[in-house]
């Protein structure tokens, strides 16, 4: 009969209306500033720079190779290379960024900078509450604001950080082995040269 569907529909909405006062399951809203959902491990928002140890400036992994700057699709990274050098995690002297700025109002969270970084120096953060009252300076983050410790990285992305650490350790071991082998070879060569000298 005409009007039957109307009554059914009204009953359904009435059930929802009353039900929302009595069953908390119906209300799926998370009231954000007070209530929060824990972020998923794969959450990514804006990049940050990883440093080892306690001193952010000395520990920065970035060698200012500028690959990320070139690869960044919206061109939101600005890097200035340092004139001097400091040792990296393997001990080799490397340049470091004298300036490293990311304009987070331009950044589109694509993670390409992270994919291309050969030094595991730039990673994605989960921090998203970055609003500021200064829309020009406030949204341009410098290297000090971007620098976050490896411990922080472990906290937000444990699995990924462990993989990254393992990769770095393997590379360091490889490098150490290589330097050791080179040193031994050099030593052997020196010994051989000495023996040859004696023989002559």
């Amino acid at each position: 009969m005409l009007g039957e569907g109307l009554i059914k529909g009204l009953a359904e909405t009435a059930r929802n209306f009353v039900g929302s006062y009595f069953s908390a399951e119906r209300l799926t809203t998370v009231q954000y500033p007070e209530e929060r959902i824990a972020p998923y491990e794969a959450t990514r928002d804006f990049p940050f720079l990883v440093y080892d140890g306690d001193d952010w400036e000395a520990g920065l992994r970035c060698t200012s190779c500028q690959i990320c700057e070139k690869e960044c699709p919206p061109k939101c990274i600005y890097i200035e290379k340092s004139k001097d050098k400091k040792p990296d995690f393997t001990g080799r002297p490397q340049t470091y960024p004298a300036r490293f700025d990311i304009d987070i109002s331009v950044c589109m969270s694509c993670q390409i900078c992270v994919e291309v970084c050969p030094f595991e120096a730039i990673k994605m953060d989960t921090e998203f509450e970055l609003s500021t009252t200064d829309r020009f300076g406030g949204l341009l983050q410098n290297r000090k604001q971007l620098a976050k410790s490896n411990a922080h990285y472990h906290k937000i992305h444990p699995t990924e950080a462990a993989e990254s650490d393992a990769g770095l350790a393997a590379e360091k071991a490889k490098f150490d082995a290589k330097t050791k082998a080179a040193a031994e070879a050099a030593k052997a060569k020196a010994v051989a040269a000495a023996q040859a000298g004696e023989g002559a």
Partner: protein
């Protein structure tokens, strides 16, 4: 004591007037009443908006506004401040004068309707003999303001919305009037005060409301349908269908003019609810004889707000109609039913007291309703669509 409470507003007015010289009394009395109406109904509008947003939220299993003040009760104030401080943009090619006048005309017309509604015992601003006629004459002028808004904006969405609105309002104006005519036939008067007085009688403690008769019940349902369409409320909100026409006829309005349109729409809802309560639900009379001590204005406003609640409930339930469905429903279903209802009401009047007229009138209405639903509102089964492509 309850007598005094019932007449508190009337007594207050007389007390204030007592301080004034006799010459000023009539003018001041009218002015004070007008000011009261102009203050009370916007306040009710604020309450309605809050109720609507909370109610719709709950229907959709959301919280609704709950940030401004305890439980979000101050939300209307925040909304008001926001709309007052927003920039008032008038399109460059708009007809500025008409564009300005349209919301004003709408609100004025909406307020004028309240002048003749009896809101309590002795509480009516103008007690004229043809108040129902006056009400419908004023109600029809809202169509003018809607078309003014749509035409002057020089925007195709506005114009489409306005054309839809005019077509819809004129179509539903007819059943709205026709469903009210039965009440006039029974009462023998166009005066709303008289209509309420006739309904304010009790037999065995039950009221003589018109809704408790077969023709009155049918007329009330038809009135509710036509009233919903007349106020452009969902499911008849085609003129302002936001998914189709941005905002319909008030697309080009911003700031306080937009708020005025919003106010006008809610005032129309309130007044159509008030008229419905007056015509069919006994106006300010109590639902049971033993409750007649409760002040009359509480009943009137209670009935009005209950209707608003039903409006909100319907909005939360029903999807929007299509234009052809809207027109079919008006001309092929609602209007014939109101005409038949006129006949049924006449039959009721001349069959005399007794159970026979109850049986006959109810049977006629039921049979007609079912037949009309089967024949008139039959779904047309369209075959699969054939597409022709350009070669």
């Amino acid at each position: 004591m309850f007598e005094k409470l019932d007449q508190i507003f009337v007594l207050l007015l007389h007390w204030i007037l007592g301080w004034l010289p006799a010459g000023l009394r009539p003018v001041t009395g009218v002015l004070l009443s007008v000011v009261t109406i102009v203050c009370v109904f916007p306040a009710l509008f604020a309450i309605c908006v809050l109720l609507e947003r909370k109610g719709l939220g709950r229907i959709q299993n959301r919280y609704g506004p709950n940030r401004v003040g305890p439980f979000g009760v101050l939300q209307p104030i925040a909304d008001g401040i926001k709309s007052l401080t927003k920039e008032d943009i008038v399109p460059l090619s708009a007809d500025a004068v008409v564009h300005f006048l349209a919301p004003v005309v709408l609100v004025v017309a909406a307020f004028l309707g309240f002048a003749v509604l009896p809101m309590g015992r002795n509480m009516v601003l103008v007690d004229m003999d043809a108040s129902l006629l006056f009400y419908f004459a004023i109600g029809a002028s809202t169509e003018l303001s809607v078309f003014m808004a749509g035409w002057s904006s020089r925007n195709k969405y506005s114009l489409l919305g306005a054309m839809r609105a005019v077509a819809q309002m004129i179509s539903y104006e007819v059943p709205l009037l026709m469903s009210s005519v039965v009440v006039v036939m029974m009462t023998g008067s166009l005066s709303l005060v008289k209509i309420v007085e006739v309904q304010n009688q009790y037999t065995h403690g039950l009221p003589h409301w018109y809704i408790f008769t077969p023709w009155g019940f049918a007329a009330f349902i038809l009135y509710a349908v036509a009233g919903t369409a007349e106020t452009n409320r969902s499911p008849f909100d085609l003129p302002e269908g936001e998914s189709e026409l941005v905002a319909g006829y008030f697309t080009e309005y911003s700031g306080f003019k937009f708020a005025l349109f919003f106010l006008g729409e809610y005032l129309a809802m309130l007044s159509i609810s008030g008229l419905g309560a007056t015509l069919f639900l006994g106006g300010w009379s109590a639902p049971f004889a033993f409750l007649s001590w409760v002040p009359s204005w509480i009943w009137f406003f209670g009935k009005m707000m209950t209707s608003i609640g039903v409006f909100i409930w319907l909005r939360g339930t029903l999807p929007r109609l299509r234009q052809d469905q809207l027109m079919n429903f008006a001309w092929k279903f609602v209007l014939p039913l109101t005409l038949i209802n006129l006949f049924v009401a006449a039959l009721w009047r001349f069959m005399g007291e007794g159970w026979l007229r109850w049986a006959v009138c109810s049977a006629i209405l039921m049979v007609i309703y079912i037949l009309m639903a089967r024949v008139g509102m039959r779904r047309e089964h369209l075959g699969p669509r054939e597409y022709r492509y350009a070669e």
